[in-house]
Structures are given as structure tokens and as C-alpha cells.
């Protein structure tokens, strides 16, 4: 479980996050949604420690993370897997080397075990046999799946996905969403997904946190979306024509 308490962050005097609190349970996908520029990615980066918040705390289970010592932070970070918007695969490494990277650097696992684990993870994300391809030789959707394989290869307890569907066609998006959902449930991990894709929200939104201009305006599940009673949230959700039809 991850808990954030009163997170605030400003850049050059402009407040990007204002007093955000929330709890992200394990075993189900937690979504942070909102329009572009509302601070979703900044909140995610505060949670993983890439950005230090001006105020507030982040707890991984009971351990405070934001102001923890370097060693404590490293210990928590080694349980984190993250899928970045662009995949963030290492260009100079093959698919296999990318997925194996956390095992190479963070463990003392023998090579044959590492190869077995990599093959298992690649098979899990539907990329068996793609080991020796370079990131530039595979599609955007496949890069995202390699990113997921890399994120789970070291038995991560926390999975973070920053806009996992950006730049993907609807079918591949659904495939990625399903994969995130399956992995979250199968390994009982805490997953936080940042997205503005309503298909993802309706598909895997078990716990949804809506941000508007840096504030948390609504929190609930996909089943409660229709009756949120928050105008800004309705404007965001029903901007999509399919959602408008669904509402009617």
C-alpha cells in the first residue's frame, strides 16, 4: 500500500500540486487521472522520488519515503518497477539486456537463472523470442511491453505506469491495460497508473483519483463515475463522445 499525505509542489512560484492526499491499495490498479497539465506526472514523480515535494509525505506501507535516508530510499526503490511514457528502454541494449538490467545491477543471480527469469517475463508480456532485437527494431506497443517486463523482472512490489497508452492504437492500449491489470492481480502488487485515457479508466479503474488544477477533486471507482456530482470531473469524463452516448 502507498499513502500520500498533503503533497504540495510549486515550480518557480507556480503551485502544481496543492495538498494532495490519498491511499493506493495493493492488488488493484489505482489510477491518477486528469487533463494535461494538472500535475498527474508530477504527483507520480513525487511518489517515486524523482521530484521532492515542498510539503507532505509519501508512505510505502509504514515507511516514510520522501525524507528517508539515502539507504532507506534505495531499499524501497529496489522494490519499484516503473513504465515510462516513452518506454525509457536503453537504446544500446537488446530487449533481453534491457529486461535483465535490474537483475544485473541489483542482484547476484547466476546468469542461467537471470536468462530464465527474463524469458519468463518476456513470455508473460507476450514477447517470447524477441530477446535479441534492439528497441529501435520493435513497435511502440512492444516497447511498452518490454518496459513492463523490465518493471516486474525483479519481483517488484510497486508498479508505476506513466501514460502507458500514449501513442498507441486502441487495440494495443487495451492489451497494455489488460496486462497491467493481470500483473497487478496476479502478483498482488501496488500499481499506480497515470492516464487521461477514458478507455483505461473504464477498463481498469478500480480506484480513481481525479486531479484538477493541482487539486484532488474526486476519488472513487469506475462504477461511481456516472454519478460523481463534480462538474469539473463530469466535464473531463464526458468530453469523449462515446462517454456522452453511454451517459444518455
Amino acid at each position: 500500500m502507498i499513502r500520500v499525505e498533503n503533497i504540495s509542489k510549486a515550480f518557480n512560484g507556480k503551485e502544481v500540486l496543492k495538498d494532495i492526499s490519498g491511499t493506493f491499495e495493493k492488488g488493484k490498479p489505482n489510477l491518477i487521472i486528469g487533463s494535461s497539465g494538472t500535475g498527474k506526472s508530477v504527483l507520480l514523480k513525487c511518489i517515486v522520488g524523482l521530484i521532492k515535494p515542498d510539503d507532505g509525505f509519501v508512505y510505502y506501507n509504514t515507511k516514510e519515503f520522501t525524507f528517508a535516508s539515502r539507504n532507506d530510499k534505495t531499499e524501497i526503490r529496489r522494490q519499484i518497477g516503473m513504465l515510462f511514457q516513452g518506454g525509457a528502454l536503453f537504446d544500446s541494449k537488446t530487449v533481453e539486456q534491457n529486461v535483465m538490467f535490474p537483475l544485473d545491477v541489483l542482484t547476484k543471480m547466476p546468469l542461467n537463472e537471470k536468462i530464465d527469469r527474463v524469458n519468463f517475463c518476456l513470455e508473460r508480456v507476450g514477447l517470447a523470442g524477441q530477446n535479441h532485437k534492439m528497441p529501435s527494431e520493435i513497435s511502440g506497443g512492444m516497447q511498452k511491453r518490454v518496459g513492463i517486463a523490465r518493471a516486474i523482472v525483479n519481483h517488484s512490489k510497486y508498479l508505476f505506469c506513466d501514460e502507458p497508452n500514449s501513442g498507441l492504437d486502441p487495440q494495443t492500449s487495451i492489451l497494455i491495460d489488460d496486462l497491467i491489470l493481470e500483473i497487478t492481480e496476479e502478483y498482488n502488487i501496488t500499481t499506480i497508473v497515470v492516464t487521461h485515457d477514458m478507455n483505461s479508466v473504464m477498463g481498469i479503474g478500480e480506484n480513481i483519483l481525479f486531479l484538477y488544477e493541482g487539486r484532488k477533486l474526486w476519488e472513487g471507482t469506475k462504477d461511481e463515475i456516472m454519478n460523481s456530482g463534480v462538474k469539473e470531473f463530469d466535464d473531463f469524463v464526458f468530453a469523449n463522445k462515446v462517454m456522452q452516448k453511454l451517459r444518455k
Binding site: V48, R70, I76, M82, A88, F90, D91, D104, V105, L106
Partner: protein
Amino acid sequence: MEALGKYFIFLGKLFVNRETFKTYFKLTVEEAISIGIKSIFLVSLVSFFMGAVTTIQTAYNLVNPLIPNYVISMVVRDMTILELAPTIIGVIYAGKVGSSMASGLGTMRITEQIDALEVMGINSTSYLVLPKILGSLLTYPILVVMAGVLNIVGGYLAGVLSGVITPHDFIYGIRFGFNEYTVTFALIKSFVFAFLVSSISSFKGYYTVGGSLEVGKASTAAVTSSVIAILLADYLLAQLLL
């Protein structure tokens, strides 16, 4: 001043929260090989022709019959060891290797590869930059020695083939009044320049903000800053050590 402070903090980060020795050893060897292969052709070409031109131009200027011919190769030798091999090759090194380091790290930054390392709990500064600096410290002095040798070989061939100096005079001049300390001085310079180019270029690349345009800017800034640092260090070292 702010950038200078940030640079020293950046250097400090190289030595905290490091990975295993084995990891760094492998990365350093890879960097050293990559840096060496990247630079060897250009350094060889420039050194050879620099030596040839230096010999011809020195001969052209020493027209006084009272000055013996072997002075030409003495001048070529001292210019090569003291300045041309470590410093001019340093400028080329900054252009070739420094820009490549900055653009490589800049690209890693804008494509979130550096963030990916940080999220995994890896000290990205140390993991990515320390091997580049160590690789440079290992490779650049070898390149300087090689440049020095090729400079003199180029000078010998140009001088002998053009008839401005006999082989005997050239060899005699190279050996005459040779001060071994100049080689030590050149090697000290090569270590300092290797550190400056690799650390400054990495610093510029590591803190790239924006997109591909900024990667290009970081690469240019890396070369400019490295060259300025080389020239300043060259002057300071000459003042301190000669």
C-alpha cells in the same frame, strides 16, 4: 558561479551510493574501448599531419646558416611533447568524445532513461558518469603518447622526404638535450585534460532539459566549456609545473 557549484555537487555524487566494483570495472573497460576506437583514427591523422607541417614550417623559419639543422627536430620534439600532443589533441578529444558523451547523456535524460535508473535505486550519476571519467583517464594518456609518436614520425617523414633535414640530423635533434620531465609534464596534462573533458561534457549532458534541440545545445556547450577549461588548465599547469 551557480553552474560551478552545481558542477562540484555533481562530482561529489560520483562517489556516493555506488554499485559493485565488478559493475564499474566492466563499464569502465567498455567506455575505454569505445573512447579509444572513436578517437584513434582522427587523433592519428591529425598528429601525423601536425608533425609534418610543424617540421616544414620550422625549417622554413630557420633560414640562418648558423643554426644547425638538427634544431628543427628539437623544436618539433619540444612542441610536440609540451603542447601539440596533450593540448591540441585535447581540443580534438573534446570535439569528438566530449560532444558524444554530452549528446549520449542528454538523449538518455530526455528519453527518461536516467529517471529509469534512479527509480531502480541506482545512482545514475555514478553509474553513467564515473565509468566515462575513468575510461577517459585510462585512454587519453595513451592517445597522447600515440599522438606524440605519430607527430614525430610525421615530422621525420615530411622533413626527410622534402629534403629539409637528413635522417641523421633529425634523430640527433630528437635526442639532443632531451629532458625527460617534459614527458612527465605532458602526461600530467593529459590526465587533467581527460578529467576536465569527460566530467564537463558529462555534466552538460546529464543536466539537459527539453528535447532534441537542447541535446544539440548541450553537446555544443560541452565542447565550448571543455576547450575553455583545457586552455585555462594548460596555462595554470605551465605556470605551476615548468
